[in-house]
């Protein structure tokens, strides 16, 4: 796709002005880094607060007579039991139990279900939901809204100055409220492992709000490069890399997204496969790896101690927080236990790697306020 056909978020001009290096991502021109660079942006977010433009993501309201129960037809989550003010992480499943996309769905108010899906997947996601739930829900896409994420240990103090009501939210709570003088939808969630918020605002107000938040010296703009290294340290999968249409939530270590009630009812797409996998019939599992030597990146082979190829890295890189390379990858369940010694093949050479628990860097979610 040429630069001319890339879409711009409402914050495009702010990125250019801040000296961002722009790259094509999900059909948009997005900032991969600002002047500080990925390493410093990453560490700033872990120590202070980082502001991310994630307006490329797909926001929509699912409205209808009973959008919550309808949404259970395409996901394995308990949405009928989703109380107002709560948000859940879930996955859109195909008939074979493969992940079409991962997403957040919440009830910031009584107006149906507010969903946020990956930018690169959004056209297909909404097509699938529309096809599967035709007649039950209406998808109202919120393309005139921007989305930004404020993440880091200082995020709550910063946001409290602008949206006092948002400070009352705990992790995975969401509210439609007045903030920055506009109708905002704010959830306490994110993709870095840190405390923080995702903030949906009308596009025409986005630039003003972005600049208002950046006027606080604790806040710096953070690009997609650091967003990727932060989420990797947090052990969070990235669609198109760790997840795709062949991967089930059980293989991906997302069993928590398959609710107890739904497991018993087996009433979601691919339920028979997922039940079998829960019963032990699983051939690959996502594990975290601590890598010695050069970073092992996506596509690198994983071998057992004898050198037989047993799996593949799905995401990998250098961990700025830990100071060594880390990775996510698939291995057979017999080799998935923490402490298992494996090899990763980087540029033809076998390097030591050890299975470790994820998250690599502890989450710092605020579950109680």
């Amino acid at each position: 796709m040429s630069d001319e056909t890339l879409k711009h978020t409402p914050l495009y001009a702010a990125h250019l002005e801040a000296g961002a290096r722009m790259v094509p991502f999900a059909g948009y021109a997005m900032p991969v880094q600002y002047k500080d660079g990925v390493l410093k942006e990453h560490l700033w977010t872990r120590e202070h607060a980082g502001l991310f433009d994630v307006s490329h993501m797909g926001q929509a309201r699912l409205r209808g007579v009973s959008p919550l129960s309808a949404f259970e037809e395409v996901t394995p989550g308990d949405f009928i039991g989703l109380k107002p003010g709560k948000q859940r992480y879930s996955v859109l499943l195909n008939k074979k139990g493969g992940i079409i996309d991962d997403l957040m769905a919440g009830r910031p108010d009584d107006d149906g279900l507010f969903v946020v899906v990956n930018g690169a997947c959004k056209e297909n996601d909404f097509k699938v939901i529309d096809a599967e739930l035709a007649g039950q829900v209406r998808i109202d896409r919120l393309e005139d809204r921007a989305l930004m994420a404020l993440q880091g240990p200082k995020a709550a103090q910063v946001l409290a100055n602008h949206a006092p009501d948002a400070a009352k939210l705990a992790f995975m709570e969401t509210a439609a409220l007045q903030a920055f003088g506009v109708d905002a939808i704010i959830s306490r969630s994110g993709y870095t492992g840190e405390d923080g918020y995702e903030i949906s605002v009308p596009g025409e107000a986005a630039l003003r709000i972005w600049n208002t938040l950046l006027a606080d010296e604790r806040v710096r703009p953070i690009g997609l490069g650091a967003r990727d290294s932060l989420r990797l340290e947090a052990g969070l999968p990235l669609y198109g890399h760790d997840l795709d249409e062949t991967v089930s939530p059980i293989e991906a270590g997302l069993g928590f997204a398959v609710s107890k009630k739904r497991r018993d009812a087996r009433d979601f797409p691919g339920a028979s496969r997922i039940a079998a996998e829960l019963g032990g019939e699983v051939t690959r599992k996502t594990v975290g790896l601590k890598v010695e030597g050069a970073p092992a990146r996506e596509g690198a082979e994983i071998a057992d101690a004898e050198g037989h190829v047993v799996g593949v890295i799905t995401s990998g890189g250098f961990s700025p927080t830990l100071g060594y390379p880390i990775a996510l990858g698939f291995v057979p369940p017999a080799l998935a236990a923490a402490g298992t010694e494996l090899k990763v093949i980087v540029r033809g050479r076998a390097q030591s790697a050890q299975v470790v628990a994820t998250p690599f860097v502890p989450h710092r979610y605020v579950r109680k306020v």
Binding site: V38, L39, K40, S229, A294, P295, R297, F318
Partner: protein, 121 residues
């Protein structure tokens, strides 16, 4: 010092070429977190891989500007890869290579030509 369009630099002392990446390249790469230097004794061919530099985001090849035999690799980069960012055209060198053909060195860009090349990017 001489330069390539791939943003390597070479300085020549007798028949020993010291090779690194330019300040421009280091800036473009961002923070270097790992460097894979060549093994001593390895034969390298001009235009082929000599080393690999890794930033948080990606791995990038560094090409040999000249053909020859690796005499020494910069072992200090194993512990301090950030030297490539801090002093790319000095302490951040990657390898010293014994070259067979000094005329190939003269054929590379000098500083003025490299600076003019950067202006075109």
């Amino acid at each position: 010092m001489r330069f390539t369009k791939d943003h390597e630099w070479v300085s020549l002392d007798g028949d020993v070429a010291t090779i690194g990446i330019t300040a421009y390249a280091a800036e473009q790469l961002g923070d270097v977190v790992f460097v894979e230097t060549p093994e001593v004794g390895k034969s390298v061919t001009a235009g082929e891989g000599l080393a690999v530099v890794e930033s948080v985001k990606a791995a990038s090849d560094v090409y040999a500007p000249l053909s020859g035999e690796v005499l020494e690799a910069n072992a200090a980069l194993a512990e301090a890869p950030e030297t490539v960012n801090q002093a790319p055209e000095a302490d951040g060198w990657f390898a010293k290579v014994k070259i067979a053909d000094a005329s190939a060195y003269e054929a590379l860009m000098d500083r003025a030509a490299y600076d003019a090349f950067l202006e075109t990017l």
